[in-house]
């Protein structure tokens, strides 16, 4: 799973049948690369989330027939940009 930040929602009216009416969000990684993920939770822009990739992304939507390769799995309670960008060393045990 990756740690990503929600940028904004994405509206696609004309879409593949097996995407159904799943909400989509634009997410970015710490480098600023943008990707699109299915959002089964309901995230706000700015939320730090964990995203699930590969075939597990399809299961994470609740229906394995949904055609996605990236799904939001949870909203991280406490996270900040510095830790994301690796400016802080590993946390002491």
């Amino acid at each position: 799973m990756q740690i990503q930040r929600v940028v904004r929602d994405l509206v696609t009216t004309k879409r593949n049948f097996w995407l159904q009416a799943k909400p989509l969000r634009v997410v970015e990684d710490w480098r600023g690369n943008l990707e699109v993920a299915v959002d089964p939770i309901g995230c706000k822009p700015g939320d730090f989330v964990i995203t699930i990739g590969y075939s597990a992304a399809r299961i994470a939507t609740g229906n394995p027939k949904i055609t996605t390769d990236l799904t939001i799995g949870g909203i991280i309670d406490h996270w900040d940009e510095a830790r994301w960008r690796d400016e802080i060393p590993a946390i002491a045990p």
Binding site: M1, I52, T71, D77
Partner: protein, 88 residues
């Protein structure tokens, strides 16, 4: 399988039901970026671990419908990251 070092636990209260109440850890690949892994083993921060990815991660997390793409499968007993072969 890839080698990671455990950085700490990750708290995500709002999560999809399929993730259950499993422990999630922030792990860092050797010389690489941070990722999040499911931890069915019980690791401490600082531990060097091996983790499986892709579809093997689903089975490793317990059952084949578990939505994980990275699951820790073992803690490495001896690992010295400073030595060139990576072992003592």
């Amino acid at each position: 399988m890839k080698i990671f070092q455990v950085e700490g636990t990750l708290v995500a209260t709002a999560r999809i039901g399929g993730l259950e109440n499993r422990r999630l850890l922030v792990v860092k690949e050797r010389g690489g970026s941070k990722q999040v892994a499911v931890d069915p083993v019980g690791c401490k921060p600082g531990d060097w671990v091996i983790a499986v990815g892709s579809s093997a991660a689903k089975d490793a997390a317990g059952h084949k419908d578990y939505p994980s793409d990275l699951t820790i499968v073992g803690i490495i007993d001896y690992w010295d990251d400073a030595s060139p072969e990576g072992r003592k």
